[in-house]
Amino acid sequence: MQQLSEEEQQKILESPPKGTLAVILVYAAIFIVTWLFLYFGRFLAHGPVN
């Protein structure tokens, strides 16, 4: 682990969590694609109830 000064540590702690937003965007994309697959590919594909 690298040694950081107090100032550097504080700067990191105050920085916006861009990596977190990127991870959540990836999650969201996977969510949407999977949901679309299930809705159009599985649910609607069953057709109307007879």
């Binding site: 105050e14 990596g19 977190t20 991870v23 649910f43």
Partner: protein, 541 residues
């Protein structure tokens, strides 16, 4: 904090009961996948399957969780407030009441007189000892609720205007949530199932019973989940070498779980005929609201991990992930738990969708989903909590950190190998909770490869469960004492010096919840006392 002031014996006793029954239930779960796959003809025994499903479900959902949560709660209260537990005799009285309840239920279960599954749905009826046992388990846990509320109240009285420490705030939220949650099943058991099982009445309204159970059935998930979230907020950032991204966001998430976790049980009744579509839709909207505190938790915990990773030299949009201390079992468990929460949460969205629910209703998809949330996210964090607390509780270093990490990976892989085929089987139309499907059709035969996959998942998970208990057992019995490690809670990036009242107390939220519950459950419950029924009467007399 002086170690003598910590409720070590109380916490350890509760947790050992929890983990002993957990191992038993894990073995029963393995038997069930073997039985359903019909791989070993000698194990194919329908009655045994239903007995096992009931025992596995009751132990995992009610016994393991309640004992663990209560024991963990006592220890969290004492260590986060840095004061002795209020009224230990009451806590022990609660423990023995719970134990008596478990023994009564075990008698009914293992004498084959309670093959009614873990959902309390009449007209299936068990021996009266099963229901009285369940009632005593709940009654015993009320001692914990009282102690948590009193300790928070006393702390606030002694520290006017000060924020209640986050670990205690979350624990008390869970105690209040549990108090609200247990009302539904308690009323059903006391007024319907115990009289029915004793033969005092010969009929009950199953619609009323299912509605009352729906009151409990969903918020109980958050009762299990909140300790896992607590560990994500209060242990993980510290274990990763950083700080909690936001204390306030954690409090908001806990309050939202309390408010939105309760009045949503009708998504379990979408296909039931006795509730009108409008009520189901209202509960359906509420169900989607629960996604918000889950998103808040996911964001806050990942952001805390990112801060820790960057303090350790992590760079880039995704490169910081490499800088996390992956050899720390708490951090590893958190990442695995969040991954499983995402997968389980996705399945939950399908269940909660009014229309799409029809596609998966009562299929193998449903147990696949709740095993991801419970067996995945929740239990993985319980493992991590135990690994973290054991040195503090026993005064000895963990028997094997390496075994702990291996066990976490095994459990993670095992639950995926178990539940992904389970979901697929659900989409293929396989019904859930039945011992066997004795039809030799191409449809049923097509399920075989998935069921064999589930057996493999069961093998991996059973090994992981045994490793977990073995590691704790060997830690406990090893001779060398390293001294009791202090429990260290994560500090937020911005220390909380002052909070608005609603983020530091529960009075307002209890009033809001009372109104919300009356709106969501009032008319749907009262209708059973006014509508014309044939034969069945509401309470049974």
């Amino acid at each position: 904090m002086n170690n003598n002031a910590k409720p070590v014996g109380l916490a350890l006793t509760h947790m050992w009961v929890a983990f002993a029954v957990f191992l038993l239930a894990a073995v029963l779960g393995f038997y069930q996948v073997l039985e359903r796959a019909e791989l070993i003809p000698a194990l194919t025994w329908d009655e045994g399957y239903y007995l096992s499903v009931t025992a596995h479900g009751v132990i995992m959902a009610f016994v393991f969780t309640t004992f663990f949560i209560v024991g963990f709660g006592y220890y969290t209260a004492a260590t986060s407030l840095e004061r002795s537990l209020w009224n230990p005799p009451l806590a022990w009285a609660g423990f023995w009441t719970m134990m008596l309840g478990v023994l009564l239920a075990v008698y009914a279960l293992f004498t084959g007189q309670a093959t009614v599954l873990y959902t309390f749905y009449p007209p299936m009826t068990a021996h009266w000892t099963f229901y009285v046992g369940a009632a005593l388990l709940v009654v015993g846990s009320i001692a914990w609720i009282v102690i948590m509320i009193v300790m928070t109240w006393q702390w606030k009285k002694d520290n006017p205007g000060q924020p209640v420490p986050l670990p205690m705030f979350g624990t008390t939220t869970n105690a209040i949530l549990w108090l609200w949650t247990l009302i539904g099943v308690a009323v059903e058991v006391v007024f319907q199932l115990i009289p029915l099982s004793l033969g005092w009445v010969d009929t009950v309204d199953v619609g009323l019973a299912r509605t009352l159970f729906a009151w409990t059935l969903h918020p109980i998930v958050y009762f299990w989940l909140i300790p896992a979230y607590l560990a994500l907020y209060m242990f993980v950032p510290k274990a990763a070498g950083g700080r909690l991204f936001s204390d306030e966001m954690a409090r908001v998430a806990f309050i939202m779980l309390l408010i939105f976790g309760l009045p949503i049980g009708f998504h379990h009744l979408y296909m039931d005929p006795f509730q009108a579509a409008g009520w189901k839709l209202l509960h359906g909207f509420g169900t989607f609201m629960v996604a918000i505190p889950t998103l808040i938790t996911g964001f806050t915990v990942i952001a805390s991990l990112e801060l820790a990773a960057r303090l350790r030299g992590g760079k880039g949009l995704f490169g910081w992930l490499k800088a996390l201390p992956w050899n720390n079992s708490m951090v590893l468990a958190a990442v695995l738990a969040l991954l499983l929460l995402t997968a389980g949460g996705f399945g939950g969205m399908i269940n909660a969708s009014y229309a799409m629910n029809a596609m998966v209703h009562n299929t193998a998809w449903v147990p696949g989903h709740f095993h991801l949330i419970f067996g995945g996210t929740t239990v993985i964090m319980y493992f991590a909590i135990a690994y973290y607390l054991w040195p503090s509780l026993t005064g000895k270093t963990l028997y094997s950190e390496r075994m702990a990490r291996t066990q976490l990976w095994l459990w993670f892989i095992g639950i995926l190998v178990l539940t992904l085929p389970w979901h697929a089987l659900g989409l293929m139309g396989q019904p859930r909770r039945i011992a066997s499907i004795p039809y030799d059709t191409p449809l049923v035969q097509a399920w075989d490869p998935y069921e064999y996959g589930m057996v493999l998942g069961g093998v991996i998970m059973t090994i992981a469960a045994a490793l977990f208990v073995w590691n704790l057992f060997m830690t406990h019995r090893r001779g060398a004492a390293a001294g009791h490690r202090e429990v260290e809670y994560a500090q937020p990036v911005h220390p909380v010096l002052k909070l608005p009242g609603p983020l530091n107390g529960f009075a307002l939220w209890n009033w809001i919840l009372a109104v919300y519950m009356i709106v969501d459950f009032g008319a749907p419950l009262l209708q059973f006392f006014f509508i014309e029924t044939f034969d069945a009467t509401s309470w049974g007399w």
